[in-house]
């Protein structure tokens, strides 16, 4: 099965180079190719879900070769990115009629998909840096794709600060290479000593801080969030959905968690490095959202608040793991990964549902209902996934001995439904009565994401817990298991 891993990068990358060469007519040729590739990627991600293994490119073993690694943490994020990607492509095919340069748009979207998948699977920190750059450079262009002044201004601010943040990541990679002579994640996991409750050495702290700045920017965590509301408000709706639902979760939060947990290992200091921006994003995002008029900016700040929950959960998991409190750490880690998936799916759904009201769309009652499912999950209304993931994070904070943090997280969670209820007229598309008719491709995108949001809500059920949340928890916390991937004969183990 691991032989399928390189296809997740090769298919969209290949398509990205073919798409600009396609003739302008028939117009649907590019749509068809992009749709086929995204559909194939979703099938691949489905086949790979629940599996683990490593693929060595060209048969070269690390450290000479580079590898792609799949485990309980990367597989669900890959599935999230593939689902959001297919939804974005379906939605775009109906939404793009107002733009020119259709095939170039598809090429950039495919390039971004390749970068995101590579980021999720890459087994070494330098290649991951390159894949992140492939994804974000495409996203800078896509944010400004309309060519309007507002979009270009958002794109250049996002791009300039993003380029600087990328150099922080690269400097972190260089420091780790200078210290340990390898960039392979599994080898680093085996050679960087876990500090536990002690303070890590200054050079390791420095490298971790550089990584935190680099990936924190891509996660849009406060105080490095400044690009995100502008970019999400100015980008075309499907691009905003893809950014919020795949790029931020994968190239930001996932990459940050993988670096701190697997490369650096559990240490209290790193835990607090995550808890500080986490708590700040959570509270600031919720408060700032209150004061914004533009519905997309409101959703963006709510997204910052959700990223805050994820980072708080990860930080708590880190501190508790360093103290050796396995149970509470496991709950926090599972809650954080679960909230990452819930946030990605729900945010993408909300941006797409809002997009049905933009020209040429005439939203029907159903697209408002789909948006409601996304809002319910992000706001944390009980039967939906977002409620359970927030509950898990709050419970882990409480039982882990952070009563104040638990109170802050619970208070913010209680305010969210109020906030969403008061703004319902603005961020939900207003149905155009009987004249309302959502184009079939847009409807398909909304159905796909609604199914993902509702499906994720089932994950905490006792029978299903061991399929998604259990492996995810183990993959986040178990550093030795990741290092063992590269041992001869162990590579293919489930």
């Amino acid at each position: 099965m691991t032989a399928l891993l390189p296809l997740t990068v090769a298919l969209p990358l290949g398509a990205a180079f073919v798409l600009p060469l396609l003739p302008r007519r028939p117009r649907r040729a590019g749509d068809l190719l992009a749709g086929l590739i995204s559909g194939a990627l979703l099938v691949l991600a489905g086949l790979l879900s629940g599996r683990a293994g490593v693929y060595e490119i060209g048969g070269w073993r690390a450290p000479l070769g580079i590898n792609l690694a799949l485990d309980g943490f990367s597989a669900p994020v890959l599935l999230l990115a593939a689902t959001v990607g297919l939804a974005a492509v379906l939605f775009s095919s109906a939404h793009l009629d107002t733009y020119t340069g259709r095939n170039r748009y598809w090429a950039l979207l495919m390039l971004m998909t390749a970068g995101i998948n590579g980021t999720i699977l890459s087994g070494d920190i330098f290649n991951r840096f390159v894949f992140v750059e492939i994804a974000v450079i495409s996203s800078y262009i896509l944010v400004g794709f309309s060519g309007r002044g507002r979009a270009l201004a958002a794109a250049i601010r996002y791009g300039l600060l993003g380029a600087a943040a990328a150099n922080f990541t690269l400097l972190g990679v260089a420091v780790l290479y200078a210290l340990h002579g390898t960039v392979n994640i599994a080898h680093l996991a085996g050679s960087v000593p876990a500090a536990g409750t002690a303070l890590p050495g200054p050079e390791i702290l420095f490298a971790a801080l550089l990584m935190l700045i680099g990936f924190g920017y891509k996660s849009a965590a406060a105080p490095l969030h400044i690009w995100q509301p502008d970019a999400l408000a100015a980008a075309p709706a499907p691009v905003a959905a893809f950014l919020a639902g795949a790029l931020i979760p994968a190239a930001g939060v996932y990459a940050l968690a993988r670096t701190l947990f697997t490369v650096f290992g559990p240490a209290e200091a790193f835990g607090w490095m995550l808890l500080f921006p986490g708590l700040l994003s959570m509270i600031f995002g919720a408060l700032a959202a209150e004061r914004r008029k533009d519905p997309r900016v409101f959703l963006s700040y709510q997204g910052i608040c959700q990223v805050g929950y994820i980072l708080t959960g990860l930080g708590a998991a880190m501190v508790l793991a360093a103290r050796g409190e396995e149970r509470a750490a496991g709950l926090a880690a599972a809650g954080a990964v679960f909230h990452l998936l819930n946030y990605g799916a729900a945010a993408a759904l909300l941006f797409l549902a809002g997009g049905t009201a933009e020209p040429p769309g005439r939203p029907s009652r159903w697209s408002a209902l789909a948006g409601l499912a996304g809002a319910g999950s992000i706001a944390g209304i009980p039967p939906l996934g977002g409620f359970f993931s927030k509950l898990m994070i709050v419970a882990a904070l409480w039982f882990g001995g952070f009563p104040l943090l638990a109170a802050a997280a619970a208070g913010t969670a209680v305010l969210a439904p109020v906030s969403f209820y008061r703004r319902r007229e603005e961020f939900l598309p207003r149905p155009a009565g009987h004249a309302g008719r959502t184009p079939p491709a847009m409807a398909a995108a909304l159905i796909l994401l609604t199914a993902l949001v509702l499906g994720l809500s089932l994950a905490p059920l006792p029978g299903l817990r061991g399929r998604l949340l259990g492996p995810a928890r183990r993959a986040v916390l178990d550093r030795e298991a990741y290092a063992a991937y590269l041992e001869p004969g162990e590579g293919q183990r489930p």
Partner: protein
């Protein structure tokens, strides 16, 4: 710790300072380029060896062990090449967008551009 590392760090901070204090798009782009140059220098230094030879095997160095003991580390150089390519594409993109913005707003000042763009959004 050689003083060269200190200089690299100073260069890095110069770039960060420029990025935080300047508002002109061209100067911001230059600041990013300065940061990038500092990081690339650091990468090359990570593989540097006093009196080392180029990591290319020729007839002059038939002994692999002796060659490996003297050659500089080629891996950081490969990383620098990749990083330069990424930096170049970013630079081209940023300059392109800046020119478009200048055509629209007649200024390179990022604050003025954002203010004008916000007015437009209303």
């Amino acid at each position: 710790m050689s003083p060269v590392y200190l200089l690299v760090f100073v260069l890095f901070l110069v770039g960060v300072f420029g990025l935080l204090t300047r508002r002109n798009l061209i100067k911001l782009i230059i600041s990013v380029a300065v940061i990038e140059a500092a990081v690339n220098l650091f990468l090359v230094l990570a593989g540097y060896r006093q009196g080392g030879i180029a990591p290319i095997m020729t007839e002059q160095h038939p002994e692999v062990e002796a060659f490996a003991a003297r050659a500089v580390d080629p891996f950081p150089q490969a990383m620098v090449l990749t990083s330069i390519v990424i930096g170049l594409s970013l630079l081209a993109l940023m300059v392109g967008i800046s020119l478009r913005l200048y055509h629209i707003y007649g200024t390179y000042d990022l604050d003025e551009i954002r203010r004008a763009a916000r007015e437009e959004g209303r």
